[in-house]
């Protein structure tokens, strides 16, 4: 992304209001987070793809709602620091064609979160997490994002 483009996005999403701020101390970061399938009750883990060759490294997972064909996709981006994660949030927002994906402060997810009932993008410590529908479904995804956020916080507390 060009610097000018990044500046436009930062201004649109009020980067200065949330950049660098985290509920956990800056030296607490999560490394090599893995998913085994027990993390999201009511879902069955369909597939996990770990991409260490991307920047930042990415863990993509696909979760099928029990008893349905509905699938939710979760992407975890492992950044080097809180500051890097917040910069990467801007890159991630640049992957949304809609200009109306805005910050969410109502759902208590992450250090900072964006999205709607159907898609949640948030940062917690050094991680950026994207939760979205991979197939049509009526259920909201915020509870999934909250469960993942709790998992990350648990990992941070456990050190």
């Amino acid at each position: 992304m060009q610097a000018a483009e990044r500046d436009v996005l930062k201004e649109r999403h009020r980067f200065g209001e949330w950049a660098g701020k985290s509920s956990v101390s800056g030296d607490r970061i999560v490394r090599d987070l893995s998913l085994t399938g027990v993390e999201l009750p009511g879902f069955r883990l369909d597939r996990v793809d770990r991409r260490a060759d991307t920047q930042p490294p990415r863990l993509s997972s696909f979760w099928r709602r029990a008893g349905t064909q509905a699938v939710v996709r979760v992407d975890l981006f492992e950044c080097a620091s809180v500051a890097d994660a917040h910069e990467y949030l801007i890159d991630a927002l640049n992957e949304f064609e809609s200009a109306a994906i805005v910050r969410r402060t109502d759902a208590a997810i992450g250090d900072v979160a964006f999205g709607t009932d159907s898609v949640v993008l948030f940062a917690r410590a050094n991680l950026v997490v994207l939760v979205r529908k991979a197939t049509p479904q009526t259920e909201v995804v915020a509870p999934i994002a909250q469960a993942l956020d709790a998992l990350i916080l648990g990992r941070l507390k456990a050190g």
Partner: protein
């Protein structure tokens, strides 16, 4: 007695002027050469090769085969292969001459693109021929169109003063491309670690979508139609997710897309414009087209005219009424030619615009943007058809975003 052991179509990986191009099956699977092996290759899809028309031109095409002979008394034989479709074994009796005439006509009309294998004498040493080059005759590559073809050969040998004897029949899937695939596809280095060699899994779809094309424009248009027509059964626009990239985030997850095309989950059923631009350009470039993925945007979002987004049958600004949308795009991305500027042409597999004199309101005339100049405000070209009059100043080409995402 005489048997065919292997056939190599891509026997010279350094160029594609006399033989097939360098290929692999997909990201994880290598395509071995020789492509045909006795006892291994049964169906046409077990023996795949692709030819680039512009490279072949009027050159003689050759294959490389190895043969063996179980009779130690035989040191020489003549070997050839006929088109098994137009040259089946002839009927006996006086119908023979009529049969010859008919098969000449059939060959002219429907003969396979590779034609036949010209007869040549083979020498067996300790029962082995070693690699032998055979020229192809009656090939149709120079005047062929894009497409998947099947070649069936009826192999024959002849001993001194003897008659021709059938000894093998082989089938091959032959992809005809306009030219060498362009980036992200590569021809070098030709080694298993290079995942950017053209994938036969991709050519299988590219050649179907671009079927019959003899120009880059027609091939790219065919691929664009093929991608758009994936909606709604295979993919649909990602309204719930705010139009987020599902297959093109950080590179093209082509493996997942092919899985989706084959009926699997892939990365799911939702796509956005970047995904579609990547599908179109990557699959068209596999045929020898020369497209890029590039964005249009401005200092703010741009309002949208009514359209038919991929998978939708309702004329409305994209995702009208959905949470997280405002009848506008923050950016849009398409497959684009040359420098990806206002004077260059776009191929948009993500949506159909209104193609009539007034694209801002009904009635609507569906038009898939293929080979359409992006244009300037007031030109009545792509920009005017996509964006509202008020939005057009923020719908500007961004050639600095021009890219060709690598495949994985």
């Amino acid at each position: 007695m005489v048997q065919l052991d292997t056939i190599a179509f891509n026997h010279d990986s350094a160029n594609a002027m006399h033989d097939a191009i360098n290929l692999r099956k997909n990201a994880s699977t290598w395509l071995p050469v020789p492509e045909w092996q006795r006892g291994v290759s049964i169906l046409a899809d077990d023996s795949i090769a692709a030819y680039a028309i512009a490279q072949i031109g009027g050159n003689t095409v050759s294959i490389q085969a190895t043969l063996s002979c179980t009779n130690p008394a035989i040191h020489h034989a003549w070997v050839r292969a006929l088109d098994a479709v137009v040259d089946p074994p002839p009927p006996p009796g006086c119908l023979g001459w009529l049969f010859q005439l008919i098969r000449a006509i059939v060959r002219a009309l429907v003969g396979n693109v590779l034609g036949e294998v010209r007869a040549r004498q083979i020498t067996f040493t300790a029962g082995q021929s070693g690699p032998v080059l055979f020229d192809l005759v009656h090939t149709k590559l120079a005047h062929a169109a894009v497409g998947p073809h099947t070649t069936k050969w009826r192999w024959q040998y002849k001993l001194h003063k003897g008659s021709w004897v059938d000894f093998a029949q082989t089938e091959h899937r032959i992809f005809v491309l306009l030219d060498l695939p362009t980036a992200p596809w590569q021809q070098t280095p030709y080694q298993q670690s290079n995942t950017q060699l053209p994938w036969t899994d991709v050519l299988n779809y590219s050649c179907q979508w671009g079927l019959g094309a003899t120009t880059r424009e027609a091939a790219a248009a065919g691929v664009t139609r093929g991608v758009y027509q994936l909606g709604p059964s295979v993919v649909t626009y990602d309204c719930p997710g705010g139009g987020s990239s599902q297959y093109s985030w950080g590179g093209f997850d082509c493996t997942a897309f092919i899985d989706r095309l084959r009926g699997g989950l892939g990365n799911g059923s939702y796509v956005n414009c970047s995904d579609c631009a990547t599908f179109v350009s990557t699959f068209a470039n596999a045929l020898g087209c020369d497209l890029w993925q590039s964005r249009m945007s401005g200092s703010g979002s741009f309002g949208l005219n009514p359209m038919l987004g991929i998978g939708s049958s309702t004329w409305e600004p994209c995702c009208h009424g959905e949470p997280g949308w405002g009848d506008a795009f923050g950016y849009h991305e398409v497959a684009w030619t040359a420098g990806c500027t206002a004077s260059d042409r776009v191929y948009d597999g993500c949506l159909q615009v209104d193609g009539d004199a007034d694209p801002t309101g009904p009635p609507h005339t569906a038009l898939l943007p293929t080979d359409m100049v992006f244009g300037n405000t007031g030109d009545g070209l792509y920009r005017d058809r996509l964006a509202t009059p008020a939005g057009r100043p923020n719908c500007n080409p961004q050639p600095s975003t021009r890219q060709r995402r690598p495949v994985s």
